[in-house]
Symmetry: C2
Subunit: 464 residues, 2 copies
């Protein structure tokens, strides 16, 4: 008798009549007046639990089975049989129920069957993967992450593990976490009272990175096609449903490429990811569509099957000005698009995903390539219905003289190694960043980004 | 005319006679007395460069081609033809050479063709991927990382992105990096002068994690099979060839599993990874075998084809005592095995990989399962010839009362959420950790772990 996952059994991979063993946790127990019980057992491998029918005749029926509660761990052995009930094709006619772990004080079990708010479940993040919703999020997250790697691997990209600890600040701005081993009570000081970071672990002040892009560029200009997929950090004190202090980002970078190539890659990549989850996560997406957001499936199918429109930023501003809409934030050439503007553009004006290009240089980072108009840069944002910006990217400034001017304008210093990439065999290149949890929320319909990562880090919260 | 990677052309995927375009960087230029030149062009897609034969008749031959140096970026268009020379099957008969980026002051180009020491190349880590060795390391690293994900994905494991920032210290010991946004010059203090971490970003003192294991256990006890693959940190001031302050670790965790299951998983996983690189990185491994370590291929093939022996720690100590070897460190029951002991066991005693099990409880972490002898725990180390320990793991203590006792003995506090996992449906479970860069060094024969990660972080070094 081999051990089977619940998924294997429900998928029909084992024929009825076989002796099977499943190992998992109890979702529920229901006792029949006929003197037998139904156990619903889940093991995380798929959304549904499998039903085991436990006859009253087994040895530990009175002493143990009738005391089982949600969350208990069990091993069930018996015969796989065609199910009499609706909903499932097979169930287990149990011959043996081995109780592995009880639930201490079932009345207070933090994730007992009744419905909980997502806010409450964040306070028991170590147990929430046992719930239907977070089990489903976990599976979709894994499928999505594997689709990311597969997409790039099959296309000859190298995965570059760029450093998390950095002494430079990519964006030239933004709030950072300091990484230090200095004694904070009595730190070493210079004569003027400032901290002597020469005494610190790295011999200088160090931070957690906000992006792997600059480092990825160095590898792009040797390997041609690279990507990063790793954690990044923001120390902004933003207590919103859209911000995490620690989140995962995907950042491809391609050489001999301009903004059009970048936009084409972003469109192809995003459609690939959505098709991957639509194909591989039907059951879990069906759950989200039924219980979390009834537009999920329709939305994903539409974007996965759409050509993405292209729209110049300056045209987008004109469209917004002529829209007749009263926006909360004013529309004005030179200002960044707000979420309400982005959603109008894709949801109402285009009626589908749209890539907005060529933003004013003043609102974009120093490394984005300056256009010939000297007013805009070769930046792009990919906007999707229902969420707005989902990807941001740009062609990079490959001309050393222009880069130097832009760095000076924005007060960025000390990136000699990054400048070297323009001194030695520079090539046009481009890339983008995709926030992984943001995409996962978009796919699942979950509203709070704290529910898209196992153990969220936000202001005043680093439990578990 | 489509753009082809060098790999595609050399693999024979395009027939001679086709018009082709390649984009890359010059490895070298050689001028013939016949009035034409040979360019060797690489694009990172594979180890060899492709040769382009440039006739003297093209427009920019005198003005540009004859001035090209190593590192210049070019686009070459022409006809793919069968190669006359040895070593390559095809080359490009160029009709056009477009120079994209020159090398500023070729005499001082930091990675010009001549041989460099690995130590020197670390000082130009942004350019070293352009060298043969680091291009090859990058490709092997990508293949290996993808093999890690594929192995687990195909077997139903969920990839869990455990948090990097943590308020708890997994091992109950070890030196940590503090993560903080407090002003170090004038930090908020309590009345007794200690730092008031309540004012810090997370409302408490926070650190960079040394392992995702405890968090992964929470997901294991819901999803049954999980793994982490992400960065971990050590603030030890160790300036050796084996330590990084930031490195990547793979940590699977399986439920309803004991130490035997764990050892079987480790053996199967390691063999899978070695077979994956042996199959997919033949050219790059051939390079390492020729230029870095002539035993690489033989060693990998042997381990990939071996059954791993099992050896109880207490037996291992007896073997070492009877070996007649004079070790630098004494052999004694109760002491940890040193590298010299580990290598004797696998290289001389077993003559192949060996998994040593059941170590004394005093030298192992609190979460490892106590054996019935009350002296040892269900821990294991996988030892491989040529390197010693490559994987360390254990069955976890699933009994709350024993766990509590072990935590008290080792002075571990404040892990109530971790204790909850034993209060609610506990099950026997097990896992292990594999240092990714250490394995990559083993595979490539590189000696210094700083060469196995793109931008190494070690004491006093966080450049780039």
């Amino acid at each position: 008798m081999t051990v089977s996952s619940v998924k294997t059994l429900l998928a029909g991979d084992v024929s009825p009549g076989a002796e099977v063993e499943v190992r998992g946790w109890l979702r529920s127990r229901r006792d029949s007046k006929g003197g037998f019980s139904f156990l619903a057992i889940h093991d995380g491998s798929c959304h549904p639990a499998i039903q085991a029918v436990v006859p009253g005749e087994i040895d530990n029926y009175q002493s143990e089975v009738l005391h089982l509660t949600a969350g208990c761990s069990v091993i069930v052995r018996g015969e796989l049989v065609a199910s009499q009930g609706k909903g499932q094709s097979v169930e287990i006619q149990a011959r043996e129920v081995e109780v592995i772990g009880w639930v201490d004080d079932p009345e207070s079990y933090p994730v007992a069957k009744k419905r909980h708010t997502f806010e409450y479940l964040r306070s028991v993040a170590h147990l929430r993967p046992r719930t239907n919703t977070f089990g489903a999020i976990t599976r979709v997250r894994t499928v999505l992450a594997n689709a990311v790697h597969r997409y790039f691997f099959e296309r000859g990209f190298q995965w570059i593990n760029t450093p998390l600890i950095t002494a430079s600040d990519c964006e030239g701005a933004g709030e950072l976490f300091r990484v230090s081993t200095l004694d904070m009570v009595n730190p070493p000081r210079q004569d003027d009272g400032r901290i002597d970071f020469n005494e610190d672990f790295f011999g200088r002040e160090a931070f957690l990175t906000v992006s792997g892009q600059l480092n990825a560029e160095a590898y792009c200009l040797a390997m041609s096609k690279v990507y990063t997929f790793g954690p990044t950090f923001r120390a902004e004190n933003s207590n919103t449903s859209r911000h995490l202090a620690e989140f995962w980002m995907v950042e491809p970078e391609i050489a001999f490429a301009n903004l059009d190539d970048d936009a084409a890659l972003a469109e192809d990549f995003l459609r690939y990811l959505l098709n991957a989850v639509l194909e591989q996560c039907q059951e879990d997406l069906g759950f989200f569509n039924q219980f979390i957001d009834k537009t999920v499936l329709e939305r994903l199918e539409k974007v996965a099957g759409s050509d993405f429109a292209r729209l110049d930023y300056s045209d987008a501003v004109r469209v917004l000005e002529k829209s007749g809409k009263s926006f909360e934030y004013p529309v004005q050439w030179g200002a960044d698009l707000q979420s309400e503007h982005e959603r109008y553009l894709c949801e109402e004006y285009v009626g589908g995903p749209v890539i907005v290009t060529h933003y004013p240089k003043e609102i974009k980072a120093f490394y984005m390539r300056l256009n010939d108009d000297d007013r805009t840069v070769a930046a792009m944002d990919v906007l999707a219905p229902g969420i707005g910006e989902i990807i941001g990217g740009s062609q990079r400034e490959e001309r050393l003289d222009v880069l130097d001017r832009r760095m000076a304008e924005q007060g960025v210093h000390g990136l000699d190694w990054y400048r070297d990439l323009r001194r030695y065999g520079t090539v046009p290149h481009a890339g983008f960043g995709l926030g992984f949890e943001r995409l996962l929320n978009y796919i699942t319909g979950m509203e709070n980004i704290r529910d898209a990562i196992p153990f969220p880090r936000v202001p005043r919260h680093a439990e578990f």
